[in-house]
């Protein structure tokens, strides 16, 4: 059924359709509408879940950990500072191989204090063992949550998934979405049947001490399964298309990339702006393409090599900074292409930090500076502020 709803509402309804048993969250702007909508749905009896109002994100993540360990399907959402506070527990959830989905609403980190969008928060957690998917629009973020549970709970994966959505740009805007029915989602996503769980009749210890004779192999297995999850993510996207008729990419989603001389790479909502701009540039006869990096963890190394192989130039639109080094995504794209024949130069254009708009003018600046041979820069800067300091 088509509906015109807020991005946060789309997520809440999608999560509700996934039949979570336990929801635990702590409100933080701009994630709040998601967990408020879910608490209303629980209060109205629309979702048969326990809603635990905890005192912090650290506890929200811990409640989810316990709930999944006991064999249930759980959910939480947070952003920025809240995600940072969860970090310790997020490593534990991945390390215990517990399937869980949380929404990581993307927001800048303090200090200076900012409530607006960029990707510094989720990027900081890229090595936790969580898989990370980035959504372009409301329909994709809705569909992505349903796929995320399927991926996370797959016996070949058993790793948590963070669905990343841009704060405000996506959480607080209204778009028309196609909301699946409960029957359709039930057919795609069966009730969670854990491979192992806390059960006195079949005892397990989770998170136990691993001395130097064991630890490395356990981390190796996480790494192998995270890398292997790429196939499951692709499978989930294909199965989703077969069930719901929608396709927005699997690990990547190329737009006008086949004959593109310059390919811009983006994550999240900026991809929508990029596609519009690519249309304009194509109209002017310029061979520009946009590549959506839909899945950042696992990192789609081979797929990127193939997608970028014929480009003369790659520009990564970075909404986070690897402070003291380079853009986080660009560094990994460069690593992926290193040693390839005819490796295109990869430009790292950092922009949109702390909610600054990325517009066609920003892309034009990025293109010009990339063509002039600049490799790492901040785009869309206010020169007068820098002069003043």
């Amino acid at each position: 059924m088509r509906k015109m709803i807020e991005g946060s509402r789309a997520v809440a309804e999608a999560v509700g359709l996934c039949r979570p048993d336990v929801i635990s969250a702590y409100p933080i702007t701009p994630q709040t509408h998601i967990v408020e909508d879910l608490s209303q749905m629980v209060a109205d009896g629309d979702i048969d879940a326990q809603y635990v109002r905890v005192e912090s994100e650290h506890s929200a993540a811990s409640v989810c950990l316990g709930a999944v360990a006991a064999g249930s399907r759980a959910y939480s959402a947070t952003t920025s500072q809240g995600l940072m506070l969860m970090a310790e527990v997020l490593y534990n959830i991945a390390g215990m191989r517990l399937p869980l989905v949380i929404t990581g609403v993307n927001r800048a980190l303090s200090a200076p204090l900012s409530i607006w969008n960029d990707h510094q928060d989720t990027m900081a957690l890229r090595d936790t063992g969580w898989l990370q998917l980035y959504a372009e629009n409301s329909q994709e973020v809705l569909d992505m949550h349903i796929q995320a549970y399927k991926i996370s709970e797959d016996d070949r994966v058993l790793l948590p998934v963070m669905v990343c959505m841009d704060g405000y740009v996506l959480t607080h805007t209204y778009e028309s979405v196609d909301m699946p029915t409960q029957e359709e989602v039930d057919a795609f996503l069966p009730r969670y049947d854990p491979l192992y769980k806390l059960d006195p009749d079949d005892p397990y210890t989770l998170g136990a001490f691993a001395d130097p004779s064991l630890y490395q192999e356990m981390r190796y297995e996480i790494q192998q399964d995270a890398l292997g999850s790429k196939a499951v993510i692709k499978e989930a996207a294909r199965d989703f298309k077969a069930s719901f008729g929608r396709w927005m990419g699997d690990v990547l989603d190329p737009y006008q990339c086949d004959d593109a001389e310059t390919i811009f790479i983006g994550l999240g909502t900026v991809v929508g702006t990029l596609k519009e701009w690519v249309d304009v540039k194509r109209g002017q006869g310029e061979k520009v393409g946009a590549l959506k990096l839909r899945c950042f963890r696992p990192f789609p190394l081979e797929e990127l090599r193939e997608a970028l192989g014929n480009a003369k130039r790659v520009v990564v639109v970075e909404k986070a900074v690897g402070v003291g080094a380079y853009g986080i995504v660009a560094a990994e794209v460069r690593a992926a292409l290193y040693g390839q024949a005819n490796m295109p130069p990869v430009t790292c254009a950092m922009a949109g930090l702390g909610g600054r708009d990325i517009t066609f003018e920003t892309f034009e600046e990025m293109l010009k500076r990339a063509q002039a041979g600049e490799s790492d820069f901040f785009a869309g800067m206010r020169a007068e502020l820098l002069e003043a300091s």
Binding site: Y26, I28, T32, E36, S39, Q40, A43, E55, E57, A111
Partner: protein, 257 residues
Amino acid sequence: MEADTETQVLFERPQAMQPVRMHYCPGCTHGIVHRLLAEVMDEFDLVERSVGVAPVGCAVFAYEYFTCDMLEAAHGRAPAMATGVKRVRPDLFVFAYQGDGDLASIGIAETIHAAARGENISIIFINNAVFGMTGGQMAPTTLPGMRTSTTPEGRDLKLAGNPMRVCELLAALDGPAYLARVAVTNPRRVREAKRAIRRAFQAQLDELGFSLVEVLSTCPTRWGMPPLDALKWLDDNMVPYYPIKEFVVAEGLAEAE
């Protein structure tokens, strides 16, 4: 004409307050509490030697309103940050200004441990029974049956647990030198609130240890009622649950009055 020579300033903005318009909603009592805090800073001549720690919550912009040095804390961490400042500069007057989400929810550990250590800092704690800034969600201090955006049918104690009485909780510790709960719902209570803030500040100045004043406050916006109704609602509902009194008064403090 002799009248001019007799002109006196009887009332003015405290030196500790910035001459700016506040962002708080109409009818919110944060403004009154800011004013009381500033008046007491003036009276003790503290402006030039104070450091305030601002919270996350509605008072996140508190650093805009006081003329002393201010430090912005991560959510709930103000007592720990204030501890760090005070340990390095015990000659400074160090206070934190926090709401119920910041102090009693995400930062309850910092609050309890700063109190237990008897850190020589002062905290103004605004309890309005709701998370105001993020949209009116349930707070640890939300009353039983009270409707919030995450307890839309009212706080069910079986599902959402019991409210926390912070002063009573901290009074069980040996660290605090002064603990009091006040309200600012009428002029008499405002005067009593100021007296409590004075005693809390005095406790720090006398190096007696941790001091905290809990101020019962209104949130007309998130409670969904006009400011006057909110004041009455507070008196009728919050005061019976959160009694107004002094919980701890260190020996020696009373004589300082």
